[in-house]
């Protein structure tokens, strides 16, 4: 435990920080800080000076172009967390409101509105039921008797609809009617008094907003690496949370090879809450793993020998959320726990909890944050306690009397105004008396023996405060590696420092940025747009933890950096360092010059990827169907970058394989879970009463048929054939796609194959005379025309048909298209070839006629809905030339005819999303 002979010069002041606050964008660069005479003695003639910052460090080169997944994806579809857009006000008022003190305008009204719309029963339930009889919502006039007790609300509803349409319009005025209504019923309409509800909602919004601005609950990180027992061994353990609610604790064996990968299945524990932090320390050859969730903390013992299962030791329950859990590196089974009420406990598994301090106030000046932290120091009985204002060390044997200040946010450490402690960490493995303290602006290294004066300070310039840190100690004569990680921005920074015992602390080399998880997005195989979006969301999830492992192979050392995301995925990257200093490979200047901003080659490249992305989409679909396709085409150029950074190196084949495995796993995981975006269905519950749907005494044959067809459509799994065309009728293309036209035999063949009469096509192709062929063709088209509209499936076929043909037009060198083999039964053309149904439309129309509806006692305002509903299920649209009845033709909306007539035309090429 030597102390450096000479320390770097620095001023020492007292009191609050003087330097004005604010993050300076480049504050960490270009400064040497101070210099020191490094010569062994002053009697030497020439003094040699060393800088506090700016010395040379070790070179750690990343081996991969991006982070690579190292365990299978977490088995849950991550629900993206709240984003500011969800709760902030977006409107014309925003600019006005922004001038206010708070800076952010919470969209309180919108949230309240959401509540009313989403939970009308909870908001207005009882009065709604009470007033049900007295409100009339229909169009009809009220009958005389009813007028006494019933009000017509139709006009009001219309006003509300109009209001909806004008949403966001600056010239939006409340109509007097609405004003009158809201004034009248503000006091009694709501189930929960409006003021109370608003208070609660506002409180919650403010809390959510504070959490969005800075969420300190994951401080410390929920990822830990338990190194192997022997130094040379390959297999260690990762401890991390997972599962749908991140409440499962996994102990996963991981093999450190070229790319670390999981071995076997993890040991799993289900816990009682979301895991916020996982902390680990090794004492006497055993790892102790502390796990913190909001109200529970637990400790596990993990023998370092592989293959021995971890044993849970003890759990404590706190009444206030715990904010910190650290494991003692000195004594087995000792932990430090802090709660948000300002209490600090020393938790020993063998004895009990010992409260060292309870102080809801912060230590050095007042700060509202209830966050507290505690860690161990060089003395096993002395703990450091931190809040946002600084650190104190206190002796657990006499916590009241024996304590000293280790770090203070103030002039002592030359802090900035507004600076706050974000994460303290004991750096015992680098030097027994060193501590790391990070704030939102800087990182400090402190020495217990020289309290209050940081031995090292550096402005880290990270966009978000570093919530995670990891230390990889360097041996004698080597630098210590510190990793800093932030949550929302996923930043990862590698710093090196040296000294502390014989020489003063120095920062070694420039800081280095490591790949965030999102960086791998551009190295994944291209996805369909919606999947790409989902993937982007998943990979962009805030980081939740950080760990690193060292592997030595002869002269080459590797540093594996693991990063955990809130979605539960773990990504890894490897950095290598040659112990014998080789000249660092110069950055390839060729790449840099071509990729300077505004260079035109970008556009050409984009053009190319247009085709390529098409290609890949097809391949993906095939892969889903089970046919393996080669993805690693070395010829593929990387995706064009949006930012003018040089194109990163292409990921290695091993990484590409990992990516594909991970993606496959992810798609499996997400498919298993219930789909959120279900196809739109109509609920008939609200439309008809039981009586409406009652089967009449004399079974109508029409009914039976309608029912049968309904069942048939359901059995086939087809959607509702669209009655109203979703788009305007497709433009008539001048040229008919003649299958035998010869212009494009491949697409013709495929068309035939899709339609199911590929054999016939082949016969035609190989022998029949042309006239007969044409006649047959016309006949078939006519049949098709009739069959069109029966099944929506056919529409999707045509779209993929044009898709394929387009593809073959676009790229000749595309992959071989699938040969026309036997099609799956579902695609068989049987329903199509059935003879057209007899034109019994009059009867069907009769079913829908208003008279018949009235006969069944269906109220007038519901009749139209019912008609539309049934019309949707009507089996065969009526042939255009002979409308069966006036009413029916009214029902069969004219636009449907145009759709029908256009069915004989080749389908318009549908615009494909995103390409």
């Amino acid at each position: 435990m030597e102390f450096p002979d000479v320390l770097f010069p620095s001023y020492f002041g007292c009191g609050p920080p003087m330097e004005e606050g604010g993050p300076a964008p480049a504050a960490g660069w270009g400064e040497q800080g101070q210099v020191l005479d490094a010569g062994p003695g002053r009697c030497q003639t020439e003094a040699m000076f060393v800088p506090r910052r700016g010395g040379t460090g070790e070179s750690w080169e990343p081996t991969e172009a991006a982070a690579v997944p190292c365990v299978p994806p977490n088995a849950s579809c991550w629900i993206p967390s709240l984003v500011p857009q969800d709760i902030l006000y977006h409107g014309f008022l925003r600019r006005k409101l922004r001038g206010g003190r708070s800076g952010a305008a919470l969209d309180f009204a919108k949230q309240l509105g959401h509540f009313f719309v989403d939970h009308p029963e909870d908001a207005f339930g009882s009065l709604g039921r009470l007033l049900h009889q007295n409100f009339h919502l229909g169009n009809s006039k009220l009958r005389r008797q009813a007028r006494d007790t019933t009000i017509r609300m139709t006009a009001l509803m219309e006003e509300i609809d109009r209001l909806e349409a004008k949403h966001g319009c600056p010239r939006q005025f409340l109509s007097p009617r609405l004003r009158w209504f809201s004034h009248l019923c503000r006091d009694w309409l709501f189930e929960v008094p409006l003021g109370l509800l608003a208070d609660c909602l506002h409180e919650e919004l403010v809390l959510q907003w504070a959490g969005l601005l800075f969420d300190d609950s994951p401080t410390g990180g929920a990822l830990a690496w338990l190194p192997p027992e022997e130094v040379g061994a390959q297999t260690g353990r990762l401890v991390y949370p997972g599962g749908p609610a991140m409440n499962h604790l996994y102990f996963q064996d991981v093999v450190l090879e070229e790319l670390p990968h999981a071995q076997g299945s993890p040991v799993q524990f289900e816990l009682n809450g979301l895991i916020r932090q996982v902390a680990a320390a090794r004492v006497d050859g055993e790892d102790f793993v502390g796990v913190r969730s909001d109200y529970h903390c637990g400790v596990w013992r993990v023998p370092a020998r592989m293959g021995v299962a971890p044993t849970p030791l003890q759990v404590i329950h706190t009444s206030v959320p715990a904010s910190c859990l650290t494991v003692s590196p000195h004594l087995p089974g000792e932990l430090a726990v802090c709660t948000q009420s300002g209490s600090v406990y020393l938790w020993s598994v063998e004895s009990r909890l010992q409260r060292l301090r309870h102080d809801p106030q912060t230590m050095f000046f007042r700060d509202h944050s209830p966050w507290r932290w505690s860690d161990f120091t060089a003395h096993p009985r002395v703990l450091s306690c931190a809040d946002r204002t600084g650190l104190q060390c206190l002796d657990a044997r006499a916590p009241e009397r024996c304590h000293f200040d280790l770090f203070k946010v103030g002039e002592e450490a030359n802090c900035q105004q507004g600076e706050r402690v974000v994460l303290p960490m004991y750096l015992g493995r680098a030097h027994p008396s060193q501590h790391l303290v990070t704030t939102q602006f800087s990182m400090y290294v402190l020495d217990e023996r020289l309290p209050l004066v940081p031995v090292l300070k550096w402005a880290h310039m990270m966009k978000a405060p570093p919530l995670f840190a990891h230390l990889t100690p360097g041996g004698p004569g080597r630098s210590h590696k510190v990793l800093l990680g932030s949550s929302h921005t996923q930043e990862l920074l590698l710093l090196q420092y040296q000294g502390g015992s014989r020489s003063a602390c120095q920062l070694a080399g420039p800081p280095q940025k490591l790949h965030p998880i999102t960086s791998c997005l551009q190295h994944l195989p291209a996805q369909l747009p919606h999947r790409h979006h989902l993937l982007q969301q998943r990979l962009g999830a805030p980081a939740a933890g950080l760990a690193a492992a060292v592997k030595e192979e002869g002269l080459r050392e590797s540093l594996m950096v693991f990063q955990l995301s809130e979605a539960g995925d773990i990504f890894c990257q490897r950095l290598t360092h040659e112990t014998v200093q080789a000249p660092a490979p110069a950055p390839t200047s060729g790449d840099e010059t071509t990729a300077s901003p505004g260079s035109s080659p970008l556009i050409e490249e984009e053009e190319q990827t247009f085709y390529l992305s098409n290609l890949e989409v097809i391949i993906n679909e095939e892969e889903d169907a089970g046919t393996p396709a080669s993805l690693e085409d070395p010829e593929l150029p990387p995706q064009p970058c949006t930012s003018p950074r040089p194109c990163p190196a292409v990921s290695t084949p091993a990484a590409a394989l990992q990516y594909r495995r991970w993606l496959k796993g992810l798609s499996k995981v997400c498919r298993e879970s219930p789909r959120r975006s279900r196809p739109l269905t109509l609920s008939q519950k609200r439309l008809f009463t039981r009586k409406d749907l009652e089967v009449p005494a004399a079974p109508n044959p029409l009914h039976g048929r309608a029912r049968q067809r309904l069942l048939q459509a359901m059995g086939e799994g087809g959607g509702i054939p669209s009655w109203d065309p979703p788009h305007p009728p497709p433009p008539v293309l001048p040229q008919l796609a003649e299958p035998s036209g010869g212009s494009d035999p491949l697409s013709a063949r495929l068309t035939a194959a899709w339609c199911g009469d590929w054999g016939q096509w082949w016969e035609e192709r190989s022998g029949f005379n042309r006239a007969e062929r044409q006649r047959a063709l016309r006949e078939r088209r006519r049949r098709q025309k009739q069959a069109r509209g029966r099944r929506s499936l056919s529409a999707s076929f045509t779209s993929s048909l044009t898709y394929q043909s387009e593809l073959s037009e676009l790229s000749d060198s595309g992959p071989p298209l699938p040969s026309p083999g036997p099609l799956p039964p579902r695609d068989s053309p049987q329903p199509r070839q059935r003879s057209p149904p007899p034109p019994d439309s009059p009867e069907e129309a009769a079913l829908l006629s208003s008279q018949s509806l009235r006969c069944r006692g269906i109220p007038k305002e519901r009749r139209k809905t019912l008609r539309d509903y049934l019309a949707v299920w009507a089996e065969s649209p009526v042939e255009p030339p002979d409308p069966p009845s006036s009413q029916a033709s009214q029902l069969c909306i004219p636009s449907s005819q145009s759709q029908l007539s256009s069915a004989s035309q080749p389908r318009r090429k549908r615009p494909r999303m995103g390409f």
Partner: protein
């Protein structure tokens, strides 16, 4: 709409800066330099009154880039810094100071000296508090360089037998350096701070000219002024000074006692313990035991043979004499609940035995007396020692068995 171009301009500036940052953090200095050249343009159109103006950013980023990719060409670097100096009045002193640091680290001490002198003569209106501090630092570093010149002259004078005339001129030059250095160094060490380097030099100067009182005062002030941070080095310097000048044991002990209170884990505590053990006074022996126990509380001393042998020696003495066993008892009382798990586990016995025989010997002795002969640590080590047929372990076993009553008394 008049806002818009301004906003766009600001935005593009920010984006450009983020690209620079990105490139630098990936050590792509060349690319960063390219972006910087775009960024420099922003300086022309910047009318914002933000705290960090682009000139500081350009200075910082430019310096960093040149440090890493100009292949050590100092000329390029110097011309860049000279430009930067003219950019901003506020930052002039800071830039000068950093420039001097850079020159010093590259061994160009004369250039650095010139730079510092030039900066010292700079005047611009009223100085802010920060500028005042920077100016003091500039002066101090100049003083430091003067001191180096002085010590160079001194070495010439001492090493080489020069003739009378040459001797005189060298001596005169040396004295002038002394005066210049002393004035500046004296100034800075009055201000609260960590000035190890300057204090050492100043004391060296004073000692050479025989001004021991002043030196003593400076060191006492540096160590005991409550406005200064609790710097262990200050106490070390004072102790070394007193030792050099043969001060009484009492004053040495009082200096070390204060250091012990401040930093119980300091390496000087071993010397302190040895000094106290030798003393005949009971009080000092008692303090010695306290000191060595406190040293071994710290994780950093856990495997230090020297510290363990100090403790073993003293414990042995007490056990043989069977006097003052209560001292051990008192020290042991506050430690007996955690020292066994911290120092004397079976695992550690195995480790220590594997790594260092003498460490495990000393520790086993202490363990045997403090925890009795059934202690895991002692049992393992003495068993291994006897198995390896090392004589001292057999003696150790006998000794512990013989003095088992001590253990019974303290437990």
């Amino acid at each position: 709409s008049s806002q818009e171009p301004k906003l766009n301009f600001k935005k593009s500036k920010e984006v450009c800066l983020s690209y620079i940052q990105d490139a630098m953090l990936q050590k792509q200095w060349k690319r960063a330099a390219e972006f910087l050249s775009f960024y420099v343009e922003s300086l022309e159109k910047d009318f914002s009154k933000e705290y960090v103006n682009p000139s500081e950013i350009i200075w910082r980023v430019g310096t960093e880039i040149l440090c890493h990719c100009s292949n050590g060409s100092m000329r390029e670097f110097n011309s860049f810094i000279e430009q930067m100096k003219t950019f901003g009045v506020k930052r002039y002193l800071k830039v000068c100071l950093e420039h001097a640091f850079h020159l010093l680290c590259n061994g160009q001490i004369d250039d650095a000296y010139q730079n510092l002198s030039l900066a010292e003569s700079w005047r611009y209106g009223e100085q802010t508090a920060i500028q005042d501090k920077e100016m003091k630092l500039i002066q101090a570093y100049r003083g430091l360089l003067d001191y180096y010149s002085w010590s160079k002259q001194k070495n010439i004078l001492l090493d080489h037998g020069l003739d009378e005339f040459e001797n005189l001129s060298v001596e005169q030059e040396m004295h002038s350096y002394f005066r210049k250095a002393a004035v500046n160094l004296k100034e800075i060490i009055k201000i609260p701070g960590v000035w190890d380097l300057f204090v050492k030099c100043y004391v060296d100067l004073l000692e050479f000219y025989g001004d021991h009182n002043e030196a003593h005062q400076v060191l006492t002030e540096y160590a005991y002024n409550s406005k200064f941070p609790a710097n262990p080095n200050a106490h070390v310097y004072l102790y070394q000074f007193l030792k050099r000048h043969g001060e009484s044991k009492k004053s040495l002990i009082s200096v070390l006692k204060i250091l012990h209170d401040l930093v119980p884990s300091h390496e000087l505590m071993i010397d302190f313990n040895t000094m106290l053990q030798k003393s005949k006074k009971r009080k000092r022996c008692r303090l010695g035991l306290e000191v060595i126990f406190a040293v071994l509380d710290y994780a950093g001393w856990k495997e230090n043979v020297k510290a363990w042998s100090c403790l073993a020696r003293q414990v042995k003495q007490i056990a043989i004499a069977e006097k003052h066993v209560d001292w051990i008892k008192q020290e042991w009382n506050s430690r007996k609940d955690w020292w066994p798990a911290f120092h004397f586990t079976h695992y550690l016995a195995k480790q220590n035995w594997k790594e260092s025989e003498s460490l495990s010997y000393e520790k086993a002795l202490v363990a045997g007396i403090l925890l009795g002969k059934d202690c895991k640590y002692f049992k393992y080590v003495s068993h291994q020692g006897c198995k390896a047929q090392v004589k001292r372990f057999r003696i150790l076993k006998k000794f512990v068995n013989k003095h088992n009553p001590v253990y019974l008394r303290i437990s």
